[in-house]
Assembly symmetry: C2
């Protein structure tokens, strides 16, 4: 094995060569560290000593670019700033909120894309390799944005499996409620789910209560027409579920598809025995119907009426309500 010593230009060339090996759908990247945007995937890098890279001292969120309009941007920015405060990354911020919006819009514009995912991070920034952010270069940290192609959602229903705390523990509330890049337990939840033929997993804490999926909230519809969801105290407050509870559930009740919605602790036993529909939500519009759970059909094993109608409503909501229009210059 050889270990050649490379100049910075050679490193850049090798980064580009590695990128060229495989297609990717990264359209644009902005970082306040470099003060600009690049559309070259080879240059979408963070310094190794960014406190987010080596110490998990970064938070993120993801908005939706739909038909050239940014949807749910402010809801996700609100949560980003709550996460930043919990991670002590917000005093001061590297950019004001208005500047963050401007940076996000400019990055979307530079991407040329009209439909994409828009993810943004706040980190303590490069500094030294200490556990302390005290040596970080910019006391204010770094704001980064990437515009990338989303992931295709499975058509129809999916199979899921329970991931108990004995297999992957649930995050403590401070970590669960702060959308940081400390996602190892989320990744392990997904991998444990995949082992059993699932994708996101349905987490259960050590006391037997439903928590969340790897990157989504879980909802349950009872035979009596009650939508059950777990309280946000110990899990991440999903923007998609929050929006569903706010705008879609009242409409589902008005249409007679639901009787009521309750957000309260749910045991695994109750969820398993009482659900005629189960679905997972995330990514503003993604509603994943769970039609098999731990090998058994949920309800009649087909996508249920509440799940199907909610999917339509969230799609419609995103199309009708946008926060700003991107300028493609």
């Amino acid at each position: 094995m050889e270990f050649p010593t490379l100049s910075a230009a050679e490193v850049t060339a090798r980064l580009a060569a590695r990128r060229a090996e495989k297609p990717n759908n990264y359209f644009a990247f902005y970082s306040s560290w470099i003060g600009g945007i690049t559309t070259d995937p080879a240059a979408m890098v963070l310094p190794m000593d960014d406190h987010m890279v080596h110490r998990g001292h970064g938070v993120f969120d993801t908005a939706t670019l739909r038909d050239g309009k940014l949807c749910r941007l402010h809801a996700h920015l609100d949560r980003l700033l709550r996460s930043a405060a919990a991670a002590r990354l917000s005093s001061p911020l590297p950019l004001s909120r208005e500047e963050m919006v401007a940076a996000i819009r400019a990055t979307c514009g530079a991407s040329g894309q009209r439909d994409a995912s828009v993810r943004y991070w706040l980190s303590a920034g490069p500094g030294d390799f200490s556990f302390s952010p005290a040596g970080c270069h910019d006391a204010a940290g770094v704001f980064s944005v990437v515009v990338f192609g989303g992931f295709p959602m499975a058509a129809g229903g999916i199979a899921e499996v329970t991931v108990p705390a004995a297999v992957v523990p649930h995050k403590p509330p401070l970590l669960a409620g702060c959308k940081s890049n400390n996602y190892l337990l989320n990744v392990l939840t997904h991998l444990a789910a995949r082992d059993g033929g699932g994708t996101f997993g349905i987490g259960v804490d050590e006391r037997g209560y439903i928590t969340e999926g790897a990157v989504c909230n879980a909802s349950f519809v009872t035979a009596a027409g009650v939508l059950l969801t777990a309280p946000f105290g110990n899990i991440l407050q999903g923007c998609t579920l929050s929006r569903a509870l706010e705008v879609a559930v009242p409409q589902l009740i008005a249409e007679g598809l639901l009787k009521a919605a309750e957000q309260r602790p749910i045991t695994l036993e109750e969820a398993k025995a009482g659900s005629v529909e189960v679905f997972l939500t995330g990514g503003d519009t993604h509603v994943m119907p769970v039609v098999r759970w731990d090998g058994a059909p949920v309800g009649d094993g087909e996508v249920g009426a509440v799940t199907a109608r909610l999917t339509q409503m969230l799609e419609r909501d995103v199309a009708d309500n946008f926060d700003c229009v991107v300028d493609y210059g």
Copy 2:
């Protein structure tokens, strides 16, 4: 605010310009992603889509380069591989263990340094921005190494403060025992300690038991000469404390400075009431004497005899026992 669109070359130039603003002591960087070593700090970068950067799917460890010799390399590599297995990053590995040793030695050699810290990471590598590593480019992941100047240790004793679980919760065992880059709670423990005039903090779990400092183990010496340390089950198994228990404690007992050592759950009350010496350990040779704890002196408020002698022993141990010699070519 302007958002210029930059070429890859312009990004590289800006990364270099940012580096030039402030001195750093990064001597060499290797990454299996680029297949080589660079000594240019501006080129010490990871792709934004590396699963370690955005999902915390990476593990690390740090060895000591002392007088041109790598000390405690294998103990830290053992732990790295245990962490990798816990994070499901080890099947397969990007480099064999022998190749990792070769990469570390080559990076140390290229650094030209004879005394430094040597940190290495295993990550799932670049792929896409999914929570799943399934799309990662190299199924085997990426191995990275950085050789950097360490941090000066405080001379004499330090003040520390208790960080209770109500302020910063303790990691669940799977996360606590796996040295991943999911260090947000460690960072917050440090910041909470700093708020109270400490540095590392002395963590206490929700049941009132001592856990660990932000990046170190805590040890307590009773008036009866018993060294008390917490069990490794719920905290990271410190390489420094492990080595101290293995080689130094028997000698401290033989010399009459200690009567015994007990590794068992310790309540905060017991530690506070019963300790004549408190010290923190980490980084192979660092023994930080805690002479004030929550504003009150520990013992007589001076560095104790056990702490002082242990410091000498660990320094001697590192100087006498090395794993391999670096070839500086």
